[in-house]
């Protein structure tokens, strides 16, 4: 079987598996957040934490709860790394330096998982298990419940309450992430991913050299790394490492996990607003963009000549930097799926993608992670895009725009505009500062367009909470550690503030009955309009950076 056929077969199987899970998982998701009944363990936790589960919060209290929870999480994770030396199972690792510890803490709390360190030589088992892996659950849960609170904004009328942050967080963790992670973890471990607390073992090879074989609780971290769209691996080489991703099946399964919840969330949305066709419309937008990304990257990695790589021409594919077990098709499928979600796990070196292939990966991230996007983040991102599309459609026909019975007034558009302006401002300002200062320039290892792509990719990845690295950038320099921490915090939480502000504004409105002038948001026409708005908005925002980076390199 040719590599291309294998790639399309894997993609076809993914579509079938995701389609099979769409309705049951989406319905279950909706039930989690609409049910009035608490589980025993939840009641125990509420009692323990002193939470009044019936006390709904207005949007500003909800978002303040997120900020307070996340600030404490950053400080706790920072502290854990700084005292690693004194913890059990440290495996001889010393305390993590302050700049790396802070960058890592902000990275894992924001669901980014940008890693300026090699896991197997920096983090002991306790930090990996009780610090990094715990945040992989918590940050994913926070993203999901922001989307749920946003959906409640459409569901509810004449109220300023969007739900209770602590109840939602508990339910997302206990009812959704933990059960799937347990089953998925068993599948990964049964398929060859390692799971132990063994000390690292050193062996003498046949040539007389010494080789250290690491151990670790890898499978249990691997599953939430993918399921929660985190991306932070136990090992430096991430999903290219055979202990994390041992074979072709686990490679496919990891891609399935990272797409599973984001693709099922539109169903939950449709269920919660009592119109399943609304969910179908949004999942169609997500699927179209995801398939375009797979097709684009696969094409350029297989048709290497267009990317300009002559060595690749001789190798029948752009195989430099590609894990040979998975080939260019396995790399392309993974690269497209990890950059359209906010996962950032990698099974090949993105710096080695052809210029246009890498350009598409960068464009995917710049889309704002909406196709299907990060867990929860993709849903609230695409809902805001739908609001913008309805507004644009309303302007075209001269009617007051409405979406799901809510009027889209200037105040809602201001929230949407703030949401969309935040990321470009954060990304392009940080990239501009890095290119314009000595501290930033000193860590750029490649000259010309490729170097520019590396810097823009790094900040786009951090701000959009993706976490994949293009490499070729000395991001462990103190400049990138510190600036990167700010970029991740503002890239995550500022858009969430505006998304929840918009949700609060929608919840306060009454419901407007549909009329003949209402744009039907369940039709293929609307799907096409949203895809168009996404491509135009992102294209116009990032075109100069894309033109000077990957396009210039590819056309050179």
């Amino acid at each position: 079987m040719s590599s291309a056929t294998a790639g399309w077969l894997q993609a076809g199987l993914l579509v079938a598996a995701l389609a099979a899970c769409y309705i049951p998982l989406g319905n279950y998701l909706a039930r989690i957040f609409t049910s009035d009944r608490d589980w025993k363990v939840e009641r125990f936790l509420y009692k323990l934490m002193g939470i009044d589960r019936s006390a709904d919060q207005k949007w500003s209290i909800y978002v303040r709860s997120i900020l307070a929870f996340s600030a404490v999480s950053v400080l706790f994770l920072y502290l854990l790394q700084r005292i690693q030396d004194h913890l059990m199972l440290a495996e001889g690792m010393t305390n993590v330096p302050p700049d790396t510890a802070w960058n890592t803490a902000t990275s894992f709390v924001t669901n980014t998982n940008w890693q300026n360190y090699a896991g197997e030589s920096t983090m002991g088992y306790v930090v990996q298990m009780t610090g990094l892996t715990v945040q992989q659950f918590m940050s994913a849960a926070v993203g999901l419940i922001v989307a749920i609170a946003m959906i409640r904004g459409f569901m509810r009328s004449r109220t300023d309450k969007l739900g209770n942050f602590y109840v939602d967080l508990t339910r997302a963790s206990i009812r959704l992430l933990l059960p799937i992670a347990i089953v998925g973890g068993i599948v990964l471990i049964a398929s060859g991913s390692i799971e132990n607390l063994h000390s690292y073992a050193t062996y003498t090879t046949l040539s007389g050299a010494h080789q250290t074989i690491p151990g670790g609780p890898v499978g249990s971290m691997e599953v939430i790394k993918d399921l929660g769209n985190n991306g932070g691996g136990f090992f430096n080489t991430n999903s290219a490492h055979p202990f994390e991703n041992p074979n072709a099946f686990t490679n496919w399964f990891e891609i399935f996990l990272l797409l599973l919840i984001p693709f099922a969330t539109p169903r939950a949305f449709g269920k919660m607003v009592k119109d399943n066709r609304q969910g179908y419309a949004l999942v169609a937008v997500m699927a179209i963009i995801w398939l375009l990304a797979i097709g684009g990257i696969s094409f350029f990695e297989a048709h290497y000549g267009i990317g300009g790589a002559t060595a690749a021409h001789l190798a029948h594919g752009a195989t430099e930097g590609v894990e040979t077990r998975f080939g260019t098709s396995g790399c392309s499928l993974f690269a497209a799926s990890t950059t359209v979600t906010s996962t950032g796990a990698v099974n090949c070196f993105h710096d080695s993608l052809t210029p246009f292939g890498g350009g598409i990966a960068l464009f995917d991230i710049a889309l704002g992670e909406i196709a299907p996007g990060g867990i929860g983040a993709g849903m609230y991102g695409i809902l805001i895009l739908a609001v913008v599309t309805v507004f644009v459609g309303g302007l075209m026909v001269g009617r007051t725009p409405e979406y799901l019975g809510k009027k889209i007034r200037p105040v809602e558009m201001k929230y949407a505009a703030l949401y969309f302006l935040t990321l470009p401002v954060v990304i392009l300002t940080a990239a501009g500062l890095s290119i314009g200062t000595h501290a930033g320039q000193a860590a750029i290892f490649n000259p010309g367009p490729h170097g520019l792509t590396e810097v823009v990719y790094a900040f786009a990845s951090m701000a959009n909470n993706n976490g994949s690295a293009f490499a070729g950038l000395g991001s462990a320099a103190i400049w990138y550690q510190t600036l990167g921490g700010f970029v991740m915090l503002f890239g995550r939480f500022a858009p969430e503030i505006f998304a929840l502000g918009l949700a609060g504004s929608l919840a306060r409105q009454g419901r407007t009955p549909e009329s003949v002038g209402t744009l039907d948001t369940r039709t293929p026409l609307f799907v096409g309009m949203v895809v168009g708005v996404v491509l135009v908005l992102v294209g116009l925002t990032y075109f100069p950076a894309l033109a000077l980076g990957p396009f210039a390199e590819g056309l050179h």
Binding site: L67, S70, A71, Y78, G485, F486
Partner: protein, 32 residues
């Protein structure tokens, strides 16, 4: 000056979340 210290990064955390807190406050004011 060596900025790679615990105090520097603790202050950076407080500054970052403080600014985000102020953004929430600003949006609330804008709402009213």
């Amino acid at each position: 000056m060596n900025i790679n210290t615990d105090w520097f990064y603790i202050v950076m955390t407080i500054v970052a979340f403080g600014v985000l807190w102020l953004i929430v406050k600003g949006v609330e004011k804008f709402e009213r």
